[in-house]
Symmetry: C2
């Protein structure tokens, strides 16, 4: 056990031996997937540090912030507006989980046909393996899929839950409903902190979160160069960390990383050669430490050049308009920005298809791998539709349905290798 | 082939040999499950007639109505207000399907982890086995689950679809959204028929549909007697037919059936003896010809005394207030009535638990069988929650997860027999 944090974890009522075992496995896993990379960027030291301290220093920071009266809000989805949390002086963290932990406990209260992501966050909580759950003042869910919507009902027996309603369509009535939900979340935060969010609070917060999105846009623009200057694994990790670390620090660190990449690009240097097949990964989010598919792709001769995912372009494409002068104008800007998210929870969701077509062009993609979590009905449906569309357009596509287990690694590797070889010709 | 309708089916572009084969199987199935019952009520002749003519005379009626300019609206869910369809001079029919037909075709466009009900309606259409699909002017879906919400997107490539948005919660903003959806459906119908729905149209339609619900309430009240005067299978069939037959004729016929049952009740006669274990079936809808579970229960020594289902009490519990004098007042009454539906699509859905508790008491239930379609996440989640609650209250409960195949009949029969025997003591 890491002695620096043992007391803290004990105080948070974690299962100490289970948690130790988890950290050990993850450390080894991280070493194999990340530290083994050749010609890695110097700026990746920040990533390594954050990961190594994700249950340590970062949790300490959260607890210290709470002592100062700041609120910590845990979320599962990019629909919960981080701008409001920050405007209320709070800290916004992602709780989506990407590892098979506590699965047995989770399956006692969830239907077996539930996706791995849901089983994972329930499992992490029930098995007392996640210090983030234990460091939150409130956990905010949303109604983006049947699985989560219904899980939150049961989960609220274990944590303090608040659920935002995301509508099923994007018509005028839906915008109104969503605006009322955004306002309700604002009131909830104001009630928690005992003061109103001011114009200036919100203006600053919008800027902070926009800056985070902008640096991720910059990173994506740079990585799009040929040859690819950074691995897909590393960019995924950057995206994952954007949900955990302090947004201002994160932005600074990733700006430095981008500067370094820019130099590499100027010198025409890449982490792979220019003929490496360029893969767009589409679909379900990959929560930390879910690095399975990018690792398979990048150890099969391909390189991931873009993630069309909530932990990827879906979360960073759109900025909040910064021109608003009143709280109401800024709320409207938030409402509009969040309703642009092309989540499969909407019907129809044609904009997602257009966005994917744009990404294929922008990133000079050679092939698309659809990443679907087993039982994730919204993305599975769209994957079938997208596969037909891409087939018609002559874009090579591989449709993968998997979970967090390692049992299908061999089979997936065979399929991905064949796909990469096929598009490499 | 039934020569009386061969030309009609051909004109509807059905797969004639496939359709013949289907009718033959269903005829045999119906004989085994329904006609074999002893001491069956005389009024059941109506049921037998409707079933025998479901693809014949009824379709002929629909086509004749269309020739007269009436519109036929096909639906999958009890959220689509039949009152509006009737007010617009239209005919409202259910398209949910309860048999494994066209599954292979359906699976080409749907994820394999899709529930049997969805696969079935898609399969019936794609395999050209259902004359109802071919006799509709418009097909109206709704956003009650991820599976249906996303299936309609693909399905709209094959049929003329219109999708109503059912919200995820029941707050004031949701009521507003739902009201706008009800109004939009009204405008859609008005556009189709080229005239406005009048106050009198709507008043009459509300009465017609309320009368249908009232006779089903009467039937349920009567069947609650001990000994049970009518089989669960027959009541399920009555409920199923309520989605297909003309509502006025249906109401008359079921009133007669109820008169007959009332006589039996007065004489203390039942179709089983008074000690037969009384089962409440809860959960997913059983669309025609899905009679699998009631048949298993009733051939295992139990009797179904109530169906807590969309094709059951969920559809008939609440009436529309008839006091409205203006169109707007009546629309409000519709909106309020439909939002009382305790569908698992809502979060939370506590009223369903209370309603089930009431049914257990009202119908003197000995045991509850939860009927869940595989992959139906909303009802599967609620079933797990309900199971825990019923266990705590000491109500025997059996949780079943199945589909439309016959492969698990043996296993289910064993489980149901053991359950019935256990609660019979």
């Amino acid at each position: 056990m890491d002695n620096r944090y043992a007391k803290m974890w004990e105080k948070l009522n974690l299962d100490l031996s289970g948690h130790d075992a988890l950290l050990e496995v993850l450390g080894k896993f991280y070493g194999d997937i990340y530290l083994s990379q050749q010609n890695r960027l110097r700026g990746a030291e920040y990533l390594d540090f954050v990961v190594s301290e994700i249950h340590g220093l970062r949790i300490k920071e959260l607890l210290q912030a709470r002592e100062r009266g700041q609120k910590v809000i845990g979320t599962f989805c990019i629909f919960v507006p981080e701008e409001l949390t920050i405007a209320a002086g709070g800290i916004h963290v992602g709780l989506c989980a990407g590892a098979d932990a506590g699965k047995e406990q989770a399956e006692k209260i969830l239907p077996r046909n539930t996706c791995a992501l849901i089983k994972s966050f329930v499992g992490f909580k029930l098995a007392r393996l996640c210090p983030f759950f234990e460091s939150c003042d409130l956990i905010v869910g949303e109604t983006t899929c049947d699985g989560k919507k219904k899980t939150y009902e049961i989960f609220s027996e274990y944590v303090d839950m608040y659920v935002m309603e995301v509508p099923n369509k994007k018509g005028p009535g839906d915008r109104e409903l969503w605006k009322s939900e955004v306002l309700k979340y604002k009131y909830k935060l104001e009630e928690m902190v005992g003061r109103e969010i001011t114009k200036q609070d919100l203006k600053n917060a919008i800027k902070i979160v926009n800056n985070k999105r902008k640096v991720l846009q910059r990173l994506n623009k740079l990585r799009g160069n040929i040859p690819t200057p950074i691995s897909g694994r590393d960019v995924l990790l950057v995206n994952q960390i954007s949900f955990y670390d302090d947004p201002v620090r994160f932005t600074e660190k990733i700006e430095c990383l981008c500067d370094e990449i820019q130099d590499k690009v100027r010198q025409g240097e890449g982490i792979v050669n220019k003929d490496t097949p360029r893969i767009l990964v589409c679909g379900c989010p990959m929560a930390v430490p879910n690095w399975k598919i990018p690792y398979i792709i990048e150890s099969s001769g391909g390189v991931v050049v873009c993630e069309e995912s909530c932990i990827g372009t879906r979360n960073i494409r759109d900025l909040v308009d910064e021109d608003g002068d009143t709280v109401d104008e800024m709320i409207d800007a938030l409402v509009d920005r969040y309703l642009k998210i092309d989540c499969a929870c909407f019907t129809p969701n044609e904009e997602r298809i257009h966005n994917i077509m744009d990404l294929i062009e922008e990133y000079k993609v050679d092939g698309v791998i659809m990443y679907n979590l087993l039982f994730c009905q919204p993305y599975l449906h769209e994957a079938m539709k997208l596969e037909r569309i891409l087939n018609k357009k002559g874009v090579p596509v591989l449709n993968i349905e998997t979970d967090y287990s390692m049992e299908d690694i061999g089979q997936l590797k065979t399929r991905v290798e064949a796909f990469v070889e096929m598009i490499g010709y």
